[in-house]
């Protein structure tokens, strides 16, 4: 998109039919298929930037940075699991599949997370030895497609995440186009090479929370009640979904807001289904509190987390930890400007590339092309991810100390104010400088 618009008299762009809209109409007319892409929602949404912390001054006392401790560790899965997961930092890596990502990228995620004492997560397509080998704490996703689902891997996992939905596409299944179904990916998924793979949106052998309770019991039985069972939902009817997840027996609930990324799905899905992450957290926390389960069933929040402020704000609203996907890929080198020339060759630009499903990623991350893959050094990229995770943690700690907290989880909604009426209403915190919370009492 060029930004040198010549504003001439008589030329006025329509806000309704802007250039993006018209481009999309032409694209649809030419191809006859909806636009498929990766990444999360690109439209402007109420987000954590609209919240501010109330640092300590007179009425509260701040903690000394670098000297006075501010705990960042969190234990997940204390409800039923014999071996809960202890994360050193409350930032974990969200599920991304081998298939969508290259083996090197998966390895780098494992390395980076392990360096920081946190967990990483498999994705739709099974567990690779590289990933298990490099991840000290690995969450195994249990998805509708069950590609590569293997009880041996299940028993090797440190936690199991039953995926009901994803913030980018609640109610929809995944999509992996033929270009990325290479020999290895095809074998892991038991698919013919080169087919377009449409993952299921519903689990094949259960539907609804009453059946899910039995499914969770099966997973616990198979793993002898050792590891935590997470339930991941895309943020929509979050208040009800969280309650049902608790009733179905979850140890941990993962709520993924609509800014959450994806490898590939319909653009119409990404931009028009779900609720912003900011809006989902208070609903989830309220559901947990009403059931007396807040902090007993831990809450992980994901979808558009970018910096330590986002982490701290999620925690203040009541999350126990956050998960990052897109941000982790950027830390590895996704969309890096050093590949600008190559992005141009495939009709994109650094910072704009979202055709993950085409498998041509110049950064070697969302690809299965052996030559492109080689560009990503898993050791160096893992180090970058660890650095980034460290910054997120330091930033979150800085904010927490400034609010007088010796533990990130002691941040409260009362430490926050909102800049906009929308964010005040969604986060259920007052508009800055006032005591007014729109629609107080939900």
């Amino acid at each position: 998109m060029s930004d040198d618009i010549n504003v001439k008299p008589g030329l006025r762009e329509s806000a309704t039919f802007d250039r993006n809209t018209m481009t999309e109409i032409r694209r649809a007319a030419e191809t006859g298929i909806y636009d498929i892409r990766g990444f999360g929602a690109k439209r402007k949404l109420p987000h954590f930037d609209d919240l501010l912390f109330l640092g300590a001054s007179m009425s509260r006392y701040p903690l000394e940075g670098y000297r006075e401790k501010c705990n960042t560790s969190v234990t997940l899965g204390t409800r039923y699991a014999k071996k809960p997961i202890v994360l050193d930092i409350p930032v974990t890596i969200a599920g991304m599949s081998f298939g969508a990502l290259s083996a090197n990228a998966k390895e780098a995620l494992g390395r980076g997370a392990s360096l920081m004492g946190t967990s990483t997560t498999t994705g739709d397509g099974g567990m690779t030895p590289e990933e298990r080998g490099q991840s000290t704490k690995l969450v195994y996703q249990y998805l509708p497609s069950r590609y590569g689902m293997n009880p041996d891997d299940l028993r090797k996992a440190d936690a199991i995440e039953v995926v009901l939905g994803q913030g980018a596409k609640p109610g929809g299944g995944g999509m992996l186009l033929g270009q990325k179904i290479t020999d290895r990916v095809a074998k892991m998924r038991t698919l013919p090479m080169g087919v377009d793979q449409r993952s299921a949106c519903r689990h094949p052998d259960w539907t609804g929370p009453d059946d899910l309770a039995i499914k969770i019991q099966e997973l616990r039985e198979i793993t002898d009640w050792q590891v935590p069972i997470y339930i991941k939902v895309g943020a929509t009817r979050t208040y009800y979904d969280v309650k049902l997840a608790v009733k179905a027996g979850a140890d941990v609930i993962v709520v993924d807001g609509m800014q959450g990324g994806t490898a590939a799905t319909q653009e119409v899905f990404i931009e028009h289904v779900g609720i912003p992450t900011l809006a989902a957290i208070p609903q989830a926390v309220r559901a947990l509190q009403e059931m007396g389960m807040h902090r007993k069933v831990q809450l992980i929040v994901s979808g558009g987390i970018r910096n330590g402020a986002d982490v701290a704000k999620c925690m203040a609203l009541g999350a126990d930890a956050v998960a990052i996907g897109t941000a982790a890929l950027v830390a590895l080198g996704c969309n890096h400007p050093k590949y600008e020339e190559e992005f141009k060759k495939i009709g994109s630009a650094a910072g704009f590339y979202d055709d993950y499903h085409e498998g041509k990623d110049p950064a070697g991350i969302s690809t299965q092309d052996p030559e492109l893959m080689k560009r990503l050094d898993p050791v160096a990229a893992g180090r970058h991810l660890a650095n980034y995770l460290n910054v997120l943690t330091l930033e979150a700690q800085t904010l927490a100390r400034a609010c007088g907290k010796n533990d990130l989880r002691n941040l409260e909604p009362e430490d926050l104010v909102a800049l906009t009426v929308e964010s005040a209403a969604m986060a259920n915190v007052p508009l800055a400088g006032t005591s007014w919370i729109p629609g107080k009492g939900f």
Partner: protein
């Protein structure tokens, strides 16, 4: 999201044991529905020209004798009644319309849970085992019974949101699943004069059947029409004066299993709810097919599809 159980006795000799046979069935479905439970029991019929109402008041010490006296006096009709926890069964020697109108006007805080010759609906919030105890389910007699345990999805956990829902004279419905078009349908039915107490999707299914039956549909026609007008996932069991009907949506993901012997026909969401029935080892067991209506009625002693 829930558990459903139903038991229809073919062998009249077992009618004294209906509650005893049914109680473990209901309790077996606790995991599927720990929030509330209820059942509709059929039997102890009142003669034609009389009506049996199940009434409920939030206060356990409600003055049912006073209400009965008033009915007797002002309508000049015979009234027999007994109460069970917060519920009272009134047998009134008049047509349903008159008695119901009287109660609605004179005791507006009394809820009418069911009306008919035979049906009694008993339901409460809480674990099935406690609800069975509250109403002394074990000691109940009758010809058939359907029950429900509820795991509330979107609407509140209340007595009103518990199943079974009355759908007309001697009719009620229990549901396992989740409807996806109930809000618009509720508005349309409200315009048709159907009254709803809750935001519950299952109540809309019940209201839909009530409306179709008022339009002159037979039960079979009403259920057939519901396949067209209701969207989402469901297994329904409908209690009728003479038996019950079972139907699943065209995708049929929500479970249902049936068992039949010379003595009874039973249905449940899961087989484990049937294991305490006598002779279950040798019963004919099968799953109802998608979008197919199964009806058992006294007039047709063997199961008909």
């Amino acid at each position: 999201m829930c558990g459903i159980v139903g038991l229809y006795l073919k062998n009249k000799a077992l009618e004294n044991q209906l509650g005893e046979l049914f109680e473990p069935m209901l309790i077996a479905m606790t995991d599927r529905g720990p929030d509330s439970a209820g059942f509709a029991i059929y039997g102890d019929e009142v003669p034609e020209g009389s009506i049996k109402l199940t009434l409920r008041h939030a206060n356990e010490d409600y003055d049912w004798a006073g209400l009965a006296g008033k009915l007797k006096h002002e309508l000049n009709v015979g009234v027999e009644w007994f109460n069970n926890s917060k519920v009272a069964i009134f047998k009134i020697a008049t047509s349903d319309g008159i008695a119901e109108a009287f109660i609605t006007e004179n005791a507006p805080d009394v809820l009418i849970l069911s009306a008919g010759q035979s049906i009694e609906i008993l339901k409460e919030v809480g674990l099935p085992v406690n609800i069975a105890k509250t109403f002394n389910l074990k000691g109940m007699k009758g010809s058939h019974i359907i029950g429900h345990t509820r795991m509330a999805t979107e609407s509140a956990v209340t007595m009103e949101g518990s199943h079974p829902f009355s759908t007309g004279m001697d009719l009620c419905l229990v549901h396992n699943g989740s409807l996806s078009n109930h809000n618009r349908l509720r508005q349309e039915l409200q315009r048709e004069g159907i009254v709803f107490e809750t935001e519950n999707d299952s109540e809309v299914a019940a209201g839909y059947l009530t409306w179709r039956l008022k339009q002159g549909d037979t039960l079979n026609e009403a259920l057939t029409n519901s396949l067209k007008d209701l969207d989402g996932f469901f297994t329904f069991t409908v209690g009728t004066r003479d038996g019950f009907a079972v139907m699943r949506d065209p995708i049929a993901c929500k479970p249902a299993v049936m068992a039949e012997t010379d003595d009874y026909v039973a249905m449940a969401s899961e087989y484990q709810a049937l294991t305490t029935l006598p002779g279950i080892e040798n019963a004919k067991i099968w799953e109802p097919e998608a979008a197919t209506i199964y009806v058992w009625e006294r007039s047709s002693e063997t199961g008909v599809k």
